[in-house]
């Protein structure tokens, strides 16, 4: 089996995440699709680390994971604030947050 298949798998997952962001309306599900895209890029990093034989790929994937976790914290805080003020977590209402 050619190790490049991992790269094809990661690009398919990335595309599914991108389509999810475009199609879904619930803000939390859109946010999950962004996480899926980040995971797909992590898979690509690890595959490159294996192809080139040095460990930096895995370390970068490690940092991507950490920063994505911090990003989820803030993203969900914003969604929670929108829900508390507007009672709906749909994607069309964030413009109501503007004062």
């Amino acid at each position: 089996m050619n190790p490049e298949n991992y790269l094809y798998l990661s690009s398919i997952l990335f595309v599914i995440g991108a389509v999810g962001v475009l199609v879904r309306r619930n803000a939390i599900v859109v946010f999950m699709c962004i996480e899926l895209m980040l995971n797909a890029s992590n898979l690509a990093f690890v595959s490159f680390a294996r192809l080139n034989g040095n460990i930096d790929g895995q370390v970068v994937a490690f940092f991507v994971m950490v920063v994505a976790a911090a990003e989820v914290v803030i993203g969900l805080a914003i969604i929670v604030t929108i829900f508390r003020t507007r009672r709906s977590a749909s994607v069309d209402d964030p413009n109501l947050l503007k004062l």
Binding site: A70, V73, A77, V80, R84
Partner: protein, 119 residues
């Protein structure tokens, strides 16, 4: 790859046991339907139909989960540092103390603002 395979054996065994017992549970045992029995259990009185969470949003769970992520990341950084401590020596020590201190600032801020209080 092969240290992972034995875990698969135990996992399949446990999953099989759990799935079998759920199947057995639903087959064995009486089947007497009654509408009241299928209502939610609220200490014996009739359940009050309420929106889940009653509209009020207890934000304390979100803050706890958020802090859990923060400290989980700190743990995941501490483990490789602790394992390779002897190679990293003093430079690694100062680095990690700085990391713990900076995260201590975040922890102190949340503590001071009352994010840790449960009422």
């Amino acid at each position: 790859m092969n240290p992972i395979v034995p875990i698969l054996f135990l996992g399949l065994l446990a999953f099989g046991f759990a799935a079998f017992s759920i199947l057995a549970g639903s087959l064995s045992g009486p089947k007497r339907y009654s509408r009241v029995k299928l209502d939610a259990y609220e200490c014996g009185i009739e359940p009050t139909p309420q929106p889940i969470g009653g509209g009020r949003f207890p934000v304390k769970y979100y803050l706890t989960a958020m802090l859990f992520i923060l400290f989980d990341i700190e743990i995941v950084f501490l483990y490789p540092w602790a394992v390779a401590f002897d190679q990293l020596a003093i430079f690694g020590l100062i680095e990690m103390l700085l990391f713990i201190l900076t995260l201590g600032v975040a922890y102190a801020y949340v503590w001071r603002r009352g994010g840790l209080e449960w009422d």
